[in-house]
Point group: C2
Chain length 136, copies 2
């Protein structure tokens, strides 16, 4: 199966699939004409990657999950630990975004928002106490 069809089945752009090959996440066969030739197993792997990426796992985490997936003797606790760590990360990001939103909302509420030049938002950015949690 050509890359275009594989892309449709996995809901991934062809470019992304080639990129995944470049970083050794997948190794499709080649047809006689040089085209990549994806097997059912390859499609499965790509779908696995698409789902894991959409859940927020990084490429390296996907690599780990794939190797766990293909290890007959893995412990489910190992997979669970990866997922729980990811939940923690997602929680931290949510908290940070909520803090950002609270500050932005306060700024917007304090701004009259008309044609006058005086603006509490800019005043706050220029010297207020708007530091709300590091974002890095």
């Amino acid at each position: 199966m050509n890359i275009g069809e594989a892309a449709a089945l996995a809901s991934l752009p062809p470019k992304t699939i080639r990129y995944y090959e470049e970083i050794d996440l997948i190794h499709p066969a080649r047809a006689g004409n040089g085209y990549r030739d994806y097997s059912e197993t390859d499609i499965h792997r790509l779908q696995f990657l698409q789902r894991a990426r959409s859940l927020g796992f990084t490429i390296e985490e996907c690599r780990m999950l794939l190797s766990l997936y293909e290890d007959e003797h893995r412990a489910s606790a190992d997979v669970r630990a990866v997922a729980m760590e990811k939940i923690g990360e997602v929680d931290r990001k949510i908290a940070e975004l909520r803090s950002m939103k609270a500050t932005l909302t306060r700024l917007v509420d304090s701004c009259h928002g008309d044609a006058r030049p005086d603006c509490p938002i800019l005043e706050d950015l220029a010297g207020g106490t708007a530091v709300c949690g590091g974002h890095r």
Copy 2:
């Protein structure tokens, strides 16, 4: 004032401050020895940038906010519009993260997490059709 001191006052790494200069967000003077020499105004600008970045504004948005900040005839409504658009973005990101978290939590809850190899998390990532551990 040298870059190190400016960095401390603005809560930004020196590398980042040099980067901001490279992309024309700031233009410090130079001392006789070639060192960058930051004025009070420069520090102010850097602090403005640090706060705006920590609120999630992109570099280009920061550039716009800075030019609004320095425009005596701006309308506060313009600034308010930028901030409100950013609130919308933050909201969208929060919603997406909450959806991720819900799925991850469901997966983790369904996984016994012991030494056995069967794992609902991997089964779900694989599409629910594959037998866990029987792959390849």
